[in-house]
Symmetry: C2
Subunit: 353 residues, 2 copies
């Protein structure tokens, strides 16, 4: 019950060797004879020796720890990606230092800074604000590899990124609807205020996934020769209630849409509910598409057509990418920007118009 605990010096003394030898026996580096190793191990066991990782990291320069910064761990998307990260990095002997920013830039800046001070070997971040990358660049300049997930960030071109091809994902969903004959297609999105911006530019960097998806929606309409009607773009905050209201606004239109795309899974659940509560018959009176293959999407009737994101894989790849950087060194290769494909899963909620 020694709270302070025995140090290497104590073990060495008890075993009658130098601390260097004791360290070699315990740490598994250098050469030690079988006899001394046994003596040291016995002494360590006797004293309840617990190596001090801080001291070791100070001299080796590696903490075997990576930082992971997300906006919300409770969000199934990030929880699943996080699992992908730990599944890859844990076998490699790394642990994860986790920070939850709640989407607040200042919290993210603080987290990255503290992690950097704690000398993590690298960091994976789902940025709170795609437009703000100065703190990430600072970390990279200090020698901490950064891998971006889910969102590209402007101002940090040197950072690797693993994202989903949201442009394509949304376009495929809308294409599915136009092929079914729908001509008035609504969208419920968090990025409604960026419609104008999205129609002109074509950068992904600096945009939220929702904005990129909105662009995919627009380009798919244009590809099908359909007009882009701003009245069919319904803005919602990232919660069910807000999506519920947005859906009702669309359905209250003089000429309501025959099909609606929701740019994420939370919005989809609110929209689905709104349609149910109005007594609207899906899919005959309304076709609906959401994002993410959440359990509920196959429990409801009709089952929801969705765009399935490779969420777990996103995390796993980010973990692997960071591990590579940690091994190879930051400056060795050019930044990698990996885009993963999402997959349209057609189910009962979408039918020909």
């Amino acid at each position: 019950m020694t709270t302070h605990g025995a140090s290497l010096i104590d073990v060495a003394r008890a075993a009658g060797v130098s601390t260097a030898t004791a360290g070699r026996a315990l740490g598994g580096y250098g050469q030690v004879s079988e006899r001394t190793r046994e003596r040291v191990l016995a002494a360590a066991a006797e004293l309840g020796y617990r190596p001090n990782g801080l001291a070791r990291s100070m001299v080796t320069g590696s903490t075997q720890t990576i930082g992971v910064v997300v906006t919300d761990v409770a969000n199934p998307f990030f929880a699943t990606a996080l699992r992908g990260i730990t599944d890859v990095t844990s076998p490699a002997g790394f642990e994860v230092l986790l920070a939850n920013t709640g989407g607040v830039l200042e919290a993210e800046q603080r987290a990255v800074s503290v992690m950097s001070e704690k000398r993590v070997d690298g960091v994976i971040v789902a940025a709170a604000r795609p437009g703000e990358g100065a703190h990430l660049r600072r970390a990279m300049d200090a020698g901490v590899p950064v891998v971006l997930i889910d969102r590209q960030v402007s101002g940090v071109p040197e950072a690797d990124s693993i994202t989903v091809d949201n442009d394509h994902a949304a376009a495929e969903a809308v294409g599915h609807l136009t092929e079914l004959g729908h001509r008035r297609i609504g969208v419920i999105t968090e990025a409604g205020d960026q419609l104008a911006r999205v129609r002109t530019g074509n950068r992904r960097r600096g945009l939220f996934p929702s904005a990129v998806r909105l662009r995919g929606y627009v380009s798919a309409l244009e590809a099908a020769g359909l007009p882009v009607d701003a009245g069919l773009v319904a803005s919602a905050r990232y919660d069910r209630e807000s999506a519920y209201d947005a859906m009702n606004r669309l359905l209250d239109l003089p000429e309501p849409p025959t099909a609606v795309l929701c740019t994420d899974n939370v919005l989809a659940s609110g929209a689905y509910r709104a349609a149910q509560d109005r007594g609207l018959r899906m899919p005959t009176q309304l076709s609906l598409i959401g994002f993410d293959d959440e359990p509920w999407t196959t429990l409801v009737r009709p089952e929801l057509t969705i765009v399935e994101q490779p969420t777990y894989d996103l995390g796993a790849r980010a973990g692997r990418q960071l591990l590579d950087r940690i091994t190879d060194g930051t400056a060795s290769r050019r930044p990698q920007h990996i885009q993963l494909r999402a997959k349209l899963v057609a189910r009962g909620s979408t039918v020909p118009q």
Copy 2:
């Protein structure tokens, strides 16, 4: 782009002061004159100084880091609890070192050991095996406070614990059904093999939550004067498919149950689906109760009656409890065993028989 970066020595030299003074100016401890503080801060900024948390922790004896060990971060239950933990500990200046064990004891042992070596200030663990606590006791003996969540563990009576009163929760659910007049009530559970054990003992320590819930089921039946029919206890693994099969087995019985309790939310989703696929009309032909207020439970028709666990609160309380221990020291108070109440939320899936 200095990978090694400037140390306190460099800053001190540049500012023309001792490292002690530079440290005081930067670290915000001790006394420094305004003039020197400014000089030091300027020098630090110029050199891009980044304090070394490892060195600081070595001397202060605190890392401002807590360990969190769960079986599966991707599980909404743990993801939500984790959010509760970070929301409480982050404002206090602590970060979370996370490990995912996949429910494998050896992984948990390794994680706790490594965290202890990294000198976390304390650890919160959702144990993989309620019967195995030796490694946790070892951590406590080394001075690392341990707070158990969701599961009590035998062999670590000194550790605090925050759990849900699963006994009561399940009993309340079954009581709801017996009051509605149901007399043949089935249960789908992961702990089916522990029916005998559960009927005799009454310890909670060393039991999985599912086993405790099974006991609640049993005692509620007995309280209502109903027989406990082992044929109505359907075993399932922790996945939808397995629960799907279990539900079908129950419904294939010569005398099938009129109501079924699922001891967690994953099992409930599989069971719900099975009932749907058989074309069974809920709730008239079958009443169903699940656990956890997942989004899908109000999207399906009928909406699912559930037992709502205070998941976020579980994490938040655990975080607070650990913070207390870190401040007060391990030995100062007797272990706290907090049991939170779950709440029955009656919805459309349960009706009188």
